[in-house]
C-alpha cells in the first residue's frame, strides 16, 4: 500500500486584486493585492492611516470598494458579475455573505442591553433561525472555550475589557464563520488583559481558522502568523513569512516602521 499524498490545490479564502477605496478625495486604499489561503493566519501591520482597518472593513462589505476586485471564497464581495457587468447585491445576499465572516472590533461593540449569552445567541437565533435551546447550548460551550463559562449571565458593563473582547470573539464564532477578521482586538485593553485575548486567538489559529488580524502585537505576529503583510500609504509594501518580514525586511519603509515598534 502506498500512501497517496494528493497535491491539495491551494484554495483562497480572500483574494484582493488592485482594491481601491476613497473617502471623498482621500484615497485610503490605492491598490491592494493580497491572497489569503484557507486556514492561514495573516497579520496586517502598518502605521496608522495606512488603510489596514479600512481594508478589513471592505472584506465584510462594511465599506464598498471603489475599484479592483475583492473575493471571498472565490465569489465577489458585495457584487455579482453577470456577463462582465457588476450588479450590487441585495441586502439579503450581503447579509448571507457577512454571516460567514466573523468580525471582532477594537471597541468590542457588545450589545450592552443583553447578557453575555444573549450577545452570543442573538445572531444564530434571529439570523439563522436556530432553536434557542440548541443555540444556548452551543453558546455556553463557546463561552467556556473563551474561559467565561461563569459569566454567561453578566451584562457587558459588568465585565473587564479582556472579558468583553472574549465574549465578542465567542459571539462572532457562534455564527460558525469561515473567516475571522480582527481589527486591533487588543488596542483598547489594559496591558495585563492583552494576553488573555491573544491566548484565545492563538487557540483559534491552532484549530485551523482562517484569520486576518490587524494588530500591533509583534510577538503574536511572529508566533502565530503564517504571513505578515506590511501596508503603508494605501499599498502593500511587503508581504511574506514573519521571519522574513519582521526579522529581515527588504523595504526601507518596513525597516523604518519596525525600528520604531520593536
Amino acid at each position: 500500500m502506498t500512501l497517496m499524498v494528493e497535491a491539495q490545490p491551494v484554495t483562497l479564502m480572500v483574494e484582493a486584486q488592485q482594491v481601491c477605496k476613497r473617502f471623498g478625495k482621500n484615497e485610503v486604499l490605492k491598490s491592494i493585492d493580497l491572497q489569503v489561503p484557507t486556514g492561514s493566519v495573516v497579520v496586517l501591520l502598518g502605521p496608522s492611516g495606512s488603510g489596514k482597518s479600512t481594508f478589513l472593513r471592505c472584506i465584510n462589505h462594511l465599506e464598498k470598494i471603489d475599484g479592483g476586485r475583492l473575493f471571498f471564497k472565490e465569489e465577489l464581495i458585495g457584487y455579482k458579475d453577470k456577463g462582465g457587468v457588476l450588479h450590487e447585491m441585495r441586502d439579503r445576499e450581503v447579509c448571507h455573505q457577512r454571516s460567514e465572516i466573523g468580525m471582532v472590533f477594537q471597541s468590542f461593540n457588545l450589545f450592552p442591553h443583553m447578557t453575555a449569552i444573549h450577545n452570543v445567541i442573538a445572531a444564530p437565533t434571529r439570523v439563522k433561525g436556530e432553536h434557542k435551546d440548541s443555540a444556548t447550548e452551543r453558546g455556553l460551550t463557546l463561552l467556556a472555550r473563551v474561559g467565561l463559562a461563569d459569566h454567561a449571565d453578566h451584562y457587558p458593563r459588568q465585565l473587564s475589557g479582556g472579558q468583553q473582547q472574549r465574549v465578542a470573539i465567542a459571539r462572532a464564532l457562534a455564527m460558525q464563520p469561515k473567516l475571522m477578521l480582527f481589527d486591533e482586538p487588543t488596542s483598547a485593553l489594559d496591558p495585563e488583559l492583552v494576553n488573555e485575548v491573544l491566548e484565545v486567538m492563538r487557540d483559534l489559529a491552532r484549530d485551523g481558522m482562517t484569520m486576518i488580524v490587524v494588530t500591533h502585537e509583534m510577538g503574536f505576529a511572529r508566533e502565530v502568523a503564517d504571513s505578515v503583510v506590511f501596508m503603508d500609504g494605501g499599498y502593500v509594501v511587503e508581504a511574506g513569512p514573519p521571519q522574513e518580514v519582521l526579522l529581515n525586511p527588504q523595504e526601507p519603509r518596513t525597516q523604518d516602521f519596525l525600528s520604531k515598534v520593536l
Binding site: L62, N109, G147, A172
Partner: protein, 335 residues
C-alpha cells in the same frame, strides 16, 4: 526635611488612630427665618384658597365620584392612551424616515414635523372636527371595479375621532424628534457589530438600536404622556365629552365652577401620578445593562426592607431581584 520619610510609622507597627474632630457647628439663623416666612406664605395661601366659605368642599367630594365625571375620566384616559399609541407609532415612522437615506422620505418627514409642530394644537383639533368642509364624503374602493364604499365624513369623524386624529398626529411630530434623538445616541459601532453578524437593517433596528434608544426616549416620553393627558382637555372645544367637558356641562347647570374644576384637577393629578409611577418602572426595565452596579431598590423594596429590619423576625427578600450579579465584575479570569 531630610528625615520626613522617617515620620511614617515603621511597617508592622500600628499608629494611634487620629482623634475625631469636635467643633461647634455654624448656626444658620437665615435658614430659620426663611423657613418661618415660607410657612407663613403657605398658610396664607391655604387660608385664601382652602379654608374659605367660597369653596363648597362637600360638593367637591360629592362630584368626585359623580357618574358623569367618571364617564368623562374614562374617555380622557382612553383618548390619552389611544393618541399616545398613534403618536408613538407615527413618531417612530417619521423618525426613521428622517434618518433615511432616501431624500424624498427625509423631506416628507421634515414637512410633517414642520406642519404638526408648527401650528397650535387647538387649531388642529378644530380643523379635524371640521374636515367635512373640505372632504364631504370619505370612501374606499378598488379602481376599475364597481366595489366602492362611501360615507358622509361628518358621520365618520365624530368628536372622538377628530380628537384622536388631532392629538395623535400632533403627538407624532413631537415623538418623532424624541425618537430621532434616542436613535442618534446609540453608538454606530452597535450597528456595525450587528451588520457584521449578518443582521438585516430591520432586525438590527428592532433588536439592537431601538432597545438602547429607549433609555433616552422614555424620560421625555413620560413628559409627553403627561402633557398629552392634559391636552385632552383642549378637545372640550369640540364637545368630545371627556373629563373637562363633563365638568363644564355640570357647572353650566349648577354654577359650582371652582368646585368642578377642582374635581377635574384631582383626577388629572391622580392619573399623572399613576403615569409617573409607571414611568419609574419602565425606566428601570430599560436600564438593564446600563450600569455595572445592581439597580437601587424600588420604594416598595425599600419599605419591605425597612419593615424587615424593624420586625426582624420576618425575613424579607428585598434585594434578591436586583443583586444577582454582585460578584466582583472586574476580576481577571485567566482563559
Amino acid at each position: 526635611m531630610s528625615d520626613s520619610l522617617s515620620m511614617a510609622a515603621p511597617p508592622g507597627q500600628a499608629r494611634p488612630a487620629p482623634k475625631p474632630i469636635r467643633a461647634v457647628p455654624i448656626r444658620h439663623y437665615g435658614r430659620w427665618v426663611g423657613a418661618v416666612i415660607s410657612i407663613g406664605v403657605a398658610a396664607l395661601i391655604i387660608r385664601l384658597f382652602v379654608i374659605t366659605p367660597n369653596i363648597n368642599w362637600p360638593k367637591v367630594a360629592h362630584y368626585l365620584t359623580f357618574r358623569d365625571i367618571l364617564v368623562g375620566l374614562e374617555l380622557t384616559i382612553i383618548l390619552t392612551i389611544a393618541a399616545m399609541v398613534l403618536g408613538l407609532a407615527l413618531g417612530i415612522l417619521i423618525a426613521v424616515m428622517r434618518l433615511s437615506v432616501n431624500p424624498v422620505l427625509r423631506t416628507l418627514s421634515w414637512f410633517y414635523i414642520w406642519i404638526f409642530r408648527g401650528t397650535p394644537l387647538l387649531i388642529q383639533i378644530l380643523f379635524w372636527f371640521n374636515v367635512a368642509l373640505i372632504i364631504p364624503n370619505l370612501g374606499i374602493g378598488i379602481p376599475g371595479t364597481s366595489w366602492w364604499v362611501s360615507e358622509n365624513t361628518n358621520l365618520l369623524v365624530t368628536p372622538f375621532v377628530a380628537a384622536l386624529i388631532a392629538l395623535g398626529f400632533n403627538e407624532g411630530a413631537y415623538m418623532s424628534e424624541i425618537v430621532r434623538a434616542g436613535i442618534m445616541v446609540v453608538d454606530y459601532g452597535q450597528t456595525e457589530a450587528a451588520l457584521a453578524l449578518g443582521m438585516k437593517r430591520t432586525l438590527l433596528f428592532r433588536m439592537i438600536v431601538l432597545p438602547q434608544a429607549m433609555r433616552a426616549i422614555i424620560p421625555p416620553t413620560g413628559n409627553e404622556f403627561i402633557g398629552l393627558l392634559k391636552n385632552t382637555s383642549l378637545v372640550s372645544v369640540i364637545a368630545a365629552q371627556e373629563l373637562l367637558t363633563k365638568a363644564q356641562n355640570i357647572y353650566a347647570r349648577n354654577l359650582l365652577v371652582i368646585e368642578l374644576l377642582l374635581v377635574a384637577s384631582f383626577w388629572y393629578l391622580l392619573v399623572t401620578s399613576l403615569l409617573m409611577w409607571g414611568q419609574y418602572y419602565v425606566e428601570r426595565y430599560f436600564a438593564r445593562g446600563a450600569t455595572n452596579r445592581p439597580l437601587p431598590p424600588t420604594p416598595p423594596q425599600k419599605l419591605r426592607k425597612w419593615l424587615g429590619d424593624k420586625f426582624s423576625g420576618v425575613k424579607v427578600a428585598a434585594y434578591t431581584k436586583t443583586s444577582q450579579a454582585e460578584d466582583n465584575p472586574a476580576e481577571g479570569g485567566a482563559p
